[in-house]
């Protein structure tokens, strides 16, 4: 397992990436809906006030305005909390961004249960599912700070709608120094032999811990960072299924429609294999401290370990 050298919240990495991008490209504009201090677009607002537009508490209008800025030749990044960006403004993203296939980047923070104390109203556990289903949309969930920075650079180069999900709390840096993020390409940390854990976002760090726990029990678990949920790296999923014969998915999101759903679709069509999905189970979030909530919703390394053992058992049946 890689030793965590540093910890940074992916939202902070996003804010820094925006400032760097703003310096490089003067067509970059940023919109927020009164949460710039939390989404960290405030860093861009401070550096480039003329290119920052606070739209107020009006997410639907923000997405439409972003679409208009794209028509006007700009590269808009629109940010707010994941639950509002993808829920409140879903149809605006569908109609005004994805249907006309405009170059708008929606980067949403405060995803998952690690929002913590604010509770279920603010913890988005459905955003990946509802973004993934819209044609033309690319969906990315970075695992750590450096990968977030690279993902933001990548979506800026890519032409078309993108959704990038970032989190509130500090997460360990796990991606190797020479790692290069590419849209649609999974990163294989460990190939594994007995079972492969396909994880996304902050669950990749938990998956790496689970691998160590499993090793102690004589199970060789692979770990894949699936940071692009759409387009899914089908080749990586199929190869893992063929190599290990059993798959575990791990995400800080509902098991319905997110990474678990996407991997289940890929497996059942192309390489049927036992699958155990770690994620929230058709339920809303609740208030609490972030680490406590990860345990409460069975999203810890220990839960992934148990899932992996279950998947191995299924394989032997």
């Amino acid at each position: 397992m890689s030793q965590p050298q540093q910890k940074i919240a992916t939202r902070d990495a996003y804010g820094d990436a925006l400032v760097a991008l703003g310096k490089k490209r003067d067509d970059v504009v940023v919109l927020d809906a009164d949460l710039s201090g939390s989404t960290k677009t405030s860093k861009f607002a401070k550096a480039y006030p003329d290119r920052f537009f606070n739209i107020g508490i009006a997410e639907q209008d923000m997405m439409g305005t972003a679409a208009g800025l794209a028509i006007g030749g700009k590269l808009p990044f629109a940010s707010t909390f994941a639950v509002f960006a993808t829920g409140r403004a879903w149809e605006q993203i569908r109609q005004s961004v994805c249907y006309p296939n405009l170059n708008v980047k929606v980067v949403a923070s405060h995803a998952g249960v690690t929002v913590g104390e604010d509770g279920g109203s603010h913890q988005s556990l459905e955003d990946v599912a509802v973004m993934r289903v819209i044609p033309n949309m690319t969906v990315i969930v970075p695992a750590d700070g450096p990968e977030t920075q690279q993902a933001i650079e990548a979506v800026a180069e890519y032409k078309g709608p993108c959704y990038v999900r970032v989190g509130r709390n500090k997460v360990p840096t796990i991606c190797p120094e020479n790692y290069r993020f590419k849209i649609g390409k999974a990163h294989v940390f460990h190939e594994g032999k007995d079972v492969c854990i396909i994880a996304t976002g902050l669950m990749v760090a938990e998956a790496l811990k689970a691998r160590d726990l499993l090793k102690a029990e004589g199970i060789d678990a692979g770990v894949i960072n699936m940071s692009t949920i759409k387009p899914l790296d089908n080749d990586a999923v199929i190869a893992a299924a063929k190599r290990c014969g059993a798959i575990v998915t791990a995400e800080e999101h509902s098991i319905i429609g997110g990474l678990g759903g996407a991997v289940a679709e890929a497996l059942s069509e192309s390489a049927p294999a036992p699958l155990v999905r770690i994620g929230t189970r058709d339920q809303f979030g609740t208030s609490g401290d972030p680490d406590g909530l990860l345990k409460h919703y069975k999203l810890s390394a220990e839960d992934i370990r148990e899932g992996a053992k279950e998947a191995v058992k299924k394989k032997k049946r």
Binding site: Q60, D61, G64, T65, G68, L69, E91, Q92, N101
Partner: protein, 277 residues
Amino acid sequence: MNEETLKTLRDRARRIRIDILKMLHGSGSGHTGGSLSATDIMTALYFYKLKHDPKNPDWKGRDCFILSKGHAAPVLYTTLAHAGYFATDELCTLRKIGSRLQGHPDSKYLPGVEISTGSLGQGLSVACGVALAHKLDKAPNRVYAVLGDGELQEGQIWEAAMTAAHYKLDNLCILVDNNGLQIDGPVAKVMGVEPIADKWRAFGWDVQDIDGHDMAQLVAALDKAETVKARPTAIVCRTVKGKGSKCFEGKVEFHGTTPSKDELETALKELDEAVCK
């Protein structure tokens, strides 16, 4: 504005109405009433005010037009064809499989359509975004949008109304096609939106209230909008749904239905006679 130019514009609107009706009769599906109520507005925009180049739809210097009430696609398509974006022959493909003339405007296929619309209430936000981009570029391009009165029931319209005023988008001008009817009946009965002009005024816009079928008033209102500083303009156009023939005028059932053969013949006769006046 000389009378000869106005006469030319009025005649253009008359011919656009004829083609709209032929097109809708041919397709057997589409929105008649709200296309005819907005025909004079669209004519004034495309044949008098907009800076655009039909042979080069992506021309950087162009003004941007957004049909927020996307169901009035027939008037947009016919106006674009008359302006030279594509041949009028193509109008008969409306709503057919493979046609660029989708039931509601689709910018992926048809040059001259700046953004796909159809889900109401979204066009004004997009218009604000384009206007902001031009402001950033310090470019003189202007942005126009046509909204329906029923569409004003969408909350997003008022979010965008705030944005336009907050960012002082004086390069933005909207025209509200105030025809008083929506699918389920009179707007006043379904969900009242009046006083429309006062609402825009209260949101910080410069407002003009005009007869949306009077070409002289339309032209004058569009000219005046260009002189307004630091505020966006709303031109509230009093219109008649189905304007152009007694067959359709003020009839709510023609929101989403098309003329029969008899209705088409009667309407074309009326529109042909109108030329002599």
